[in-house]
Symmetry: C2
Subunit: 321 residues, 2 copies
């Protein structure tokens, strides 16, 4: 591929920021640019970098797709506001759930979210804004995994031969494309972001849809959201790379109050990794896993079974969907 | 329920054996009795007890339903032969897979196996034998769980109001019905069974069908069989009550040779328990779980993900299906 990686050791954050601000500024000129903030490290760093370069000529949207974690849309917008960056919050939950209805294949689900986002909701916003530039938080690993055919990242377009100017009427600017995650975090730190923002564990593009095996409905996302809250509260104190709760489609036999209950299973994954290319399950204390299972089965309605994934990547991947 | 439990502390194995042999002998008289040996502790103890009482007037069948573990039909028959008890091995794999075809609901699967066994294969055998008595290894916990509606054990008939004499033309004799598992093991030991036979971890009535979530096909049972072999080799040295590998119907994303592979997930369960009424997941060393996952993903075709269940019973049950 044609993108040149900047290794963490070679990265000089201040010089990188200055250079990227200059490039964004030069390219956009007196015109406007838009971007979508997801709340993840990549899009947050992109937003702040671009806002430094463009000021109010940057229009940043946060699109609530109904697949976010508990309280996430509000807290992400508020955190940016505190850094002086204005963000427009848009409720598009109905569009996304309509597109996901009846879909069970992971690739189709991913595609439905991508299409609803690019061709639908955000596509319309970009068109209406009249901005000829779109800023995206694509990083080196996204390109690599998409090119290798491991996973189709939602934000990879140019590398797949899609001419966004012809297809959608705008040019894409990807200031972080030469960096891997640790590099992005270093830039975030240098930009003065709070540590909770630049050290935030990664969260997948399709958000909680990636944590639901099978059909993604509002009810099933609500269960995955509750399970995610429990797992994040229990594991946030650890130094793990990423941790998650996955709602299975398979039902398993359980019992409650002496009666059989055909219930849900939640799978917990917690990863040690440097760059998500390879990863190992974190050696969590067994008592912690037991307590986590007890909380999960008592706080998430219908859950009777909790497992912990013990497979390395490869042959596993970080996410199940 | 009308059955009176004999607690382990009150059990005198020699007296129990003498008494049950006398009862079986009196009931069957000069006539014949049949029984089906599954290889589990309960049916093995029943077989030896009844053979002691009846000698060659007992006809024992081992029915290969295609759902057994690797090499199990042959090894069970051979072990009985070494104890002087003749067993007829019958291949009924096609009958069972035909009955299971297309069924995904656990209750329907269980029912299909029960019906194929009682109304089909074994029912025919009993009828052909002309024996008016059937010996069954029903134990106290089976009755209890069936009556409580937690799980419908395959061998509970009388307690559900089924008059076997009217329905099938034979009377059922259940010499172990007052005992729980530890009591049965004590009887096995007193009968001179090898420790590997009377201390054998319990295995469910529907055999590997209980270890396959979703449709039970010869191919899926073959995967569960391989996974079971791996888990039993890895965990047999421990003092756990029961351990198992479960093939999920859900597929998860994995990767092999740098390419995405939409693969299978195996769930491992390993239980500490006294009597299966309540149970806790065994605190297995993390390294052992990691090695188990490595073996599973390299030795069982298509498996990309392995989990360990960390939920207690209740709200989980021992088996998933």
């Amino acid at each position: 591929m044609s993108v040149q990686e900047i290794k963490l050791n070679d990265l000089k954050p201040e010089a990188f920021i200055e250079e990227q601000c200059r490039l964004i500024s030069e390219q956009v000129g007196p015109s406007k640019a838009v971007n979508a903030l997801s709340g993840g490290v990549d899009s947050s760093v992109t937003t702040i970098l671009a806002y430094q370069a463009l000021g109010p000529r940057l229009l940043t949207y946060f699109i609530d797709n109904g697949l976010m974690r508990e309280g996430e849309p509000e807290s992400v917008v508020y955190a940016m506001k505190r850094l002086g960056v204005p963000v427009v919050l848009l409720d598009a939950r109905r569009d996304f759930f309509a597109a996901l209805k009846g879909k069970t294949d992971p690739e189709e689900k991913r595609q439905a979210i991508t299409d609803t986002f690019y061709k639908g909701v955000f596509g319309r916003l970009v068109k209406e804004s009249g901005a000829p530039y779109l800023l995206q938080g694509t990083i080196y690993t996204d390109v690599e995994e998409t090119v290798a055919g491991i996973k189709r990242q939602h934000n990879i377009l140019a590398q797949l031969g899609i001419d966004t100017e012809k297809a959608f009427g705008y040019k894409v600017i990807e200031p972080l494309i030469q960096l891997r995650k640790p590099g992005v975090r270093a830039i975030g730190e240098a930009l003065g972001m709070p540590v909770s923002m630049y050290n935030r564990p990664p969260f997948p593009g399709p958000a909680l849809a990636a944590r639901v095996i099978g059909e993604v409905t509002p009810e099933r996302v609500a269960l995955a959201r509750k399970a995610t809250l429990v797992v994040e509260e229990a594991l946030s104190g650890l130094e793990a790379f990423q941790y998650m709760a996955i709602l299975h489609e398979d039902r398993v036999t359980g019992m409650r109050n002496g009666k059989r209950e055909y219930g849900f299973q939640i799978e917990i994954r917690c990863w040690d990794s440097q760059d998500a290319v390879t990863a190992s399950p974190t050696k969590l204390p067994f008592d912690l896993l037991r307590k986590l299972a007890d909380r999960m089965t008592s706080e998430v309605p219908g859950v009777v079974s909790v497992t912990y994934n013990v497979t390395a990547k490869p042959p596993s991947t970080i996410e199940a969907v």
